[in-house]
Subunit: 239 residues, 6 copies
Amino acid sequence: MKIRIVVPLAVDVFNSLVEEEADRLRAPGTEIDVVNVERGPASIEGSYDEALAAPWVVEAVQRAEQDGCDGVFVDCFGDPGVAAAREVVSIPVVGGFVPAALTATAIAGRWSVVTVLSNVVPLIRDLARKHGLEGNVASVRHIDTPVLELQDHDLMRSRLLGRIRLAVRDDGAEAVVLGCTGMMGLADDLAATMADEGVPVPVVDPTAAAIAMLESLHKMGVSHSRLCYHQPTEKLRII
Amino acid sequence: MKIRIVVPLAVDVFNSLVEEEADRLRAPGTEIDVVNVERGPASIEGSYDEALAAPWVVEAVQRAEQDGCDGVFVDCFGDPGVAAAREVVSIPVVGGFVPAALTATAIAGRWSVVTVLSNVVPLIRDLARKHGLEGNVASVRHIDTPVLELQDHDLMRSRLLGRIRLAVRDDGAEAVVLGCTGMMGLADDLAATMADEGVPVPVVDPTAAAIAMLESLHKMGVSHSRLCYHQPTEKLRII
Amino acid sequence: MKIRIVVPLAVDVFNSLVEEEADRLRAPGTEIDVVNVERGPASIEGSYDEALAAPWVVEAVQRAEQDGCDGVFVDCFGDPGVAAAREVVSIPVVGGFVPAALTATAIAGRWSVVTVLSNVVPLIRDLARKHGLEGNVASVRHIDTPVLELQDHDLMRSRLLGRIRLAVRDDGAEAVVLGCTGMMGLADDLAATMADEGVPVPVVDPTAAAIAMLESLHKMGVSHSRLCYHQPTEKLRII
Amino acid sequence: MKIRIVVPLAVDVFNSLVEEEADRLRAPGTEIDVVNVERGPASIEGSYDEALAAPWVVEAVQRAEQDGCDGVFVDCFGDPGVAAAREVVSIPVVGGFVPAALTATAIAGRWSVVTVLSNVVPLIRDLARKHGLEGNVASVRHIDTPVLELQDHDLMRSRLLGRIRLAVRDDGAEAVVLGCTGMMGLADDLAATMADEGVPVPVVDPTAAAIAMLESLHKMGVSHSRLCYHQPTEKLRII
Amino acid sequence: MKIRIVVPLAVDVFNSLVEEEADRLRAPGTEIDVVNVERGPASIEGSYDEALAAPWVVEAVQRAEQDGCDGVFVDCFGDPGVAAAREVVSIPVVGGFVPAALTATAIAGRWSVVTVLSNVVPLIRDLARKHGLEGNVASVRHIDTPVLELQDHDLMRSRLLGRIRLAVRDDGAEAVVLGCTGMMGLADDLAATMADEGVPVPVVDPTAAAIAMLESLHKMGVSHSRLCYHQPTEKLRII
Amino acid sequence: MKIRIVVPLAVDVFNSLVEEEADRLRAPGTEIDVVNVERGPASIEGSYDEALAAPWVVEAVQRAEQDGCDGVFVDCFGDPGVAAAREVVSIPVVGGFVPAALTATAIAGRWSVVTVLSNVVPLIRDLARKHGLEGNVASVRHIDTPVLELQDHDLMRSRLLGRIRLAVRDDGAEAVVLGCTGMMGLADDLAATMADEGVPVPVVDPTAAAIAMLESLHKMGVSHSRLCYHQPTEKLRII
């Protein structure tokens, strides 16, 4: 199958990392390419950033369908533009939140999200509410680090571990979801470190979960419901 | 106070009606003007339309604040761009859903929404979930009529009455919210007709509710929480 | 419009303060007068106090309607007698809880209440449940101070600030509701102090919210649903 | 043990029936007497009636404790005055709703209430919400019959059967709660009739459930929590 | 009436204690005997243990019905095999969770469970969810003590008090449920100690609650709904 | 990877069909074998059947891990023994419900289950509650057909279509989950038929969803949380 990863940012600083990671995560028969949106923010850290990115996400998803892709991963934990894009294409489209949240629900009763900034905590809570998963969320914590500073892996790693420990100990988390797709390639290491500390908490990486879900939906031959994401009505639209 | 109504459509066919209605609804000291967004769809009937309108809603709301407005009503029941706009301004911003839904909650235990098309039913359910009001929603029904065909008032009125009767009788609605801001000027008449039939069900008009809420927030001196709608971080954004 | 404030207490020690505050909060065209109930407790701090006040609240609300009032504010955060009063009159009747809780819901995703005593914490939780708002409540905290000791403004103010800080930091509150109508005239100052501390949390005053809601309902021409608050059946009642 | 049944009505037309029924339902060692409240309505069919009865319920419950009773049943499905009465005494106090609702929860996953009039449907829904049981309620239906017309047993019986059939077939009820304590002595017969029709649905009688719960709490040596129903603060109360 | 207590363990070390306690708790006319299951674990501390015990619980409950018993208490807080057993008999069957949880709901708005090990915390949360009671649970805490070490009463007592204090102070518990039927005979003492400390929190013993509920259901003449716990279909079963 | 399908039945009548279907659904690198449990019922249609199967499911899952399998599908929609089995192995174990329910949640806002008999409707509702997904369930309907009569494909197909139509039209389902793993190989055809009727409702097959989820979890390197499914304590167990 052919998956396209749409990075909903106007900059391509993350692309090579995303390509590498996607290459590591894809199943044998899966081809993945990575594109950016034409316009939008340099990172997504709030509803304003999402609003700026969404129209261009939709456009990129439409192009992906025209290019013969079998699924699209909108590479952001906040699922920006995903509902809109689902209305205009038939191929499966997922963001980072839903695949990661459902994976966590499959393996644990209550799970926490650890994200980048306080700015996005309400957005993540709203995603959980929107998808009817609020009762499974133990907490949403953040490492107080903007997306564009996640490059310092050691700092990110140590801050994530700090929040994961609190999520398990104080909030009753039984699994942890990394709440930003910029936190790539760390989940295994974090889980192993926690296990070494005697706290065997699974850590879910949203990129891995998203690619796996697209591969699953493809195999199952199902896509998003057009009774939920209706085909747009015909009319004037000035874009 | 000065309220600006941002009609999130690229066409101004509704503007004169909105102006008339706003003039009828405003409190003595309130000035209201009406603007359109620069780009976007001709009507909003799904997530795709909302995504297209949202960036321009934000821009129009920012301009409203710069122009000294004290509040903004984004004139659509789906609250498109409202969360994003709240992040970039300090003055109160409301769409149609929240004021109408909260008014209904104030006067009845369970209420129904009657909207235009099946396309927007999932969006309205998601708004109810997002604002924690799902338990108060008796049902979301629709009249199977696109926004741009609401001009036929007699047809709209008779279809709305049909759905309101069902909402009360079969769904247990104790109040009804008109689920499109294009259903202007009908609430009183619908409520009176129902009362004449022996079913005294209040009908909430989202435009009236929105203007009243902006006037209330202004009097109370409160606006949306910046702990929920955080100021956007500084960074490159290509719009 | 004419609003009557029914203070559900058998003593009038708060009346002049309430009058002053009401005068400050009312819209230009609004007239407000303040009355007490004939019998009842000196303050309301539990279900027993509410039960004692409720019959006399109903009576005072009936008299308000006979006197041509357009709305009644039952001046207590616990909404004592409000449901009963709504059954016997057609004009809008609100207590302190619903208007304040809905205002907080309009401006923030999750909010906390800070009230007077542990005694009323379960009552406030029950009000949130009754109105389907439980999912929006971050916490209900109290300042361990009886209503009749709220006169010491400095003490009340410093205790409220202590609880507001905890509500934001530990409970995730994005807005705060003052959980007693005796905490008059403090909301702006508390919000300003918090903002100065770098925590821009809106503070909702229930008296201001109630008066604004009555003015809004009056403008909108809607009142409580008679399908929810049914007209009492005719029969013997010994009062 | 000594149970007192407080009929929260100003008339004693039901008392002899209640006494007979109580005598049939009590455990061997239980003594039961029946009293009326001093003032109040002739029947309870709404919040107004509850407000009128509540202060006198509290008084009657206090007298019961002074008279050495070990528990009080406030004989009405709406639990009028129960929360208030619990604040002023230490002995267990129950109304009709909580014992019947918890019995239904013990024996079935989802249950319906069949009550007297549409007027009380919102009150019963609110009781379910207040006690956190809303998710277990399949529906609240009514037989459109005032309390004071329940004397016509054949009519009541046939109307109840009609609603019970609908509750099972259309609402998914697995058990039924009779939603008025005036529907005495019918539960067994209704359940047997339904079973004869091939629908083995248990029917819970609130009077039986309430007496059984008081006997249970007495045996267990527990009463309502004073952390939930706090002792009233000392102060002036004009009754 | 005749109650059989089925201890779902393959060992009888608890039986004499259970017999003593049952004798203390039963109503005058109630006979109680105690049996073990034929196979199963030595204690129940997880889903695996429950799965091993369940088939033998069902068998023991069937035998109880054949022996003319009027009710069965499956003596474990996790209700192992209870749903299965209810499908094959008509007499009431209860475990420890439901009777204790419903008793707590009857006397308090929010309650906590204090159980033995972290292993069973998710199971108890799931029971609360299954019975629609999750909104009433303040917390589930544990004393980090395996069932088979509960013999050291002083240690158990002091650990329970520690957790009860935290449940009230930090979690808002208004009542406490002992979350293991092995914590016999302690509830009164724990409640008295807490009351002496100025924290009058009721403590519910699951064994006492279960016996009282069986006696109640017997008096009321109701049992579990066969619309919820359906009679098993006829077919081959290799046991 | 190596997946073992554990058919939790004591009969192997379904095995060849399951093998065929598994072969059709597996990813290129996946090996799948199918085994039965040693003892248990001929089909699973209630809690009693689940209790009989569960110990043998656990045993079969343990053997799968010893045999080097990378994941186990317990081939029944009711997830019998899954929680217990997860406690004793480290490899991922899933039943039919969770993978299908999460797939439906990924593609639609509200979905219905269509299952075999009324007997299992309460079990499916309880699974939805247990996994925090109750708010996403539009309805649980059944075709009134025992598992062992599913062989008549035409009858099953026509009954399923009847229920799917009702689920969409009357219950608001946006996707449908086939609520029995015996309904193999029908999902695509049912979805196509509905689409031909103008109702494009996705239909989720639990077997396909389960295999895809095991492949996903394997690729992601995560398994169930040992903080939720704790390792059993050491002690005597008589099996």
